[in-house]
């Protein structure tokens, strides 16, 4: 196993507010590391430090053993796939143009892009014949999210970042997307970092869970270890799974 992403005492502050406090963490090749935490725990901040949307105010973050500050910013971002909750598909591009965007920025030739787009759409469960020429406004929330995942995979990135990607869809669609995620991981074996506040999602998708609280790493554990953990914050999250109102 080799480290694809490494946080070395990485901190992030805005003014006097320290959002992330000296995070040290290694993400191994092929694993899905889930950053779990409440709103404001620093998980999205940590994620954005991987592809250079943010840079640590102290410490460093290494991608493929090179600090993010030493990467050429555009190169770093194109090596890393990024999926966010609002998806951010370009409304003026068709599905095919959205998915083929990074390959086009990388100057692939047209045939290769078309082929790649077809493969990717099939991989995320969308029929290219039906969907390639549509615009994002003509898709359901779940379909848009699939296009978002296909777009992130387009240039065969070494790492995928997910920022609460399934947060805005209904629970039935969400389960579909989660199963899709597991199937993709089985087929492609991509290294992923996944941000969520949903403990059920974390247990389902993670190979390891990093629990953040107020910008600090509280616990780093496999889903099994997490379920047996006795820490306050882990228990608070686990209670979300088990708590039921008393039957009337």
């Amino acid at each position: 196993m080799s480290a694809v992403v490494e946080f070395r005492a990485a901190s992030y502050r805005i003014g006097a507010r320290e959002i992330l406090k000296s995070l040290s963490l290694t993400v191994e090749a092929g694993e899905t590391l889930v950053l779990l935490g409440r709103s404001g725990s620093g998980k999205t901040t940590a994620l954005k430090m991987v592809n250079g949307l943010l840079f640590p105010s102290a410490g460093e973050v290494l991608v493929d053993a090179t600090p993010t500050t030493a990467w050429e910013p555009v190169r770093l971002k194109r090596r890393i796939g990024y999926v966010i909750q609002e998806i951010g598909l370009f409304p003026h591009y068709t599905v095919a143009q959205n998915v083929g965007l990074v390959p086009r920025l990388e100057n692939w030739d047209g045939d290769r892009i078309r082929e790649r787009v077809d493969t990717l759409l099939r991989q995320v469960g969308l029929d290219p014949e039906l969907f390639a020429a549509r615009y994002p406004a003509q898709l359901s929330g779940g379909q848009r999210q699939r296009v978002g995942v296909a777009r992130a995979l387009a240039a065969d990135p070494s790492v995928l970042l997910f920022d609460e990607p399934f947060g805005a869809v209904d629970p039935v669609t969400r389960l579909d997307l989660q199963k899709q995620f597991l199937a993709l991981r089985r087929d492609l074996g991509k290294t992923s970092i996944f941000v969520t506040h949903d403990v059920r999602e974390a247990l389902m998708l993670a190979t390891r869970i990093a629990l953040l609280r107020d910008g600090r790493l509280e616990l780093l554990a496999t889903p099994r270890q997490f379920q047996d953990s006795a820490g306050d914050e882990a228990l608070a999250f686990l209670e979300c799974l088990d708590w039921k109102a008393n039957p009337q």
């Binding site: 949307l53 194109r78 990024y82 966010i84 609002e86 951010g88 003026h92 920025l105």
Partner: protein, 204 residues
């Protein structure tokens, strides 16, 4: 209508159109880049928008008058008229460029950056296409206003359809005023219709 008047209307309408087209080309070439600039440099926003704003608050006849004594751009004639018309047209174009670009969904912008678009690619492939409709709306408003305001150019020797209007006012001749006002209104309506069509085509 005698043929002398008809040919004079034609000639002055052409002169009027030339004033408008030249002024609008310069105004677009200045105001769109200025609008883009102030999306990048928020600190410059109050200065550039303020300047364009002040230009618009000066009564148009006064603005033409103010420019006459200014060296290089001033004096009597078309050049001064064009400078005044450009100054007038800046605000709606610059403001709409700013509003159009800032109106692009933050998630769209973030994912463009996260996918490794350069600043230039973000601007030309994402922000400008998505802001195009708003920018065109600004250009449309500015064009229609400029066609009307250009009638005042005649007051400082700039020519155009205003020549009829000022002549008509001086000689209390309604027919002369109409000979200037009606074609100017027709040009304005035609320009509004044509630019409205472009605006709709752009996004559909």
């Amino acid at each position: 209508m005698n043929s002398g008047l008809a040919s004079e209307i034609g000639q002055l309408a052409l002169e009027h159109l030339t004033l408008v087209i030249v002024s609008m080309s310069i105004a677009i070439a200045a105001a769109v880049p200025a609008g883009i600039l102030i999306t990048r440099r928020a600190a410059w926003r109050p200065w550039l928008l303020g300047f364009a704003n002040v230009m618009q608050t000066i009564p148009s006849l006064a603005l033409f008058g103010f420019l006459i004594p200014v060296p290089l751009i001033g004096g009597i004639g078309k050049r001064t008229a064009i400078v005044a018309l450009v100054l007038y047209a800046l605000l709606p174009i610059m403001r709409n460029t700013l509003v159009g670009i800032l109106g692009v969904d933050a998630a769209v912008r973030e994912s463009a950056v996260a996918m490794g678009m350069t600043g230039r690619q973000l601007l030309w492939r994402v922000e400008m296409p998505l802001a195009a409709r708003t920018i065109l709306a600004g250009i449309r408003v500015a064009t229609v206003t400029t066609i009307g305001t250009a009638t005042i150019a005649a007051a400082i020797g700039g020519g155009g359809l205003g020549v009829f209007i000022f002549r008509g006012i001086a000689s209390v001749d309604t027919a002369q005023i109409l000979a200037g006002a009606v074609p100017a209104a027709c040009i304005a309506l035609a320009a509004d219709g044509a630019l409205g069509w472009v605006e709709r085509r752009w996004t559909n």
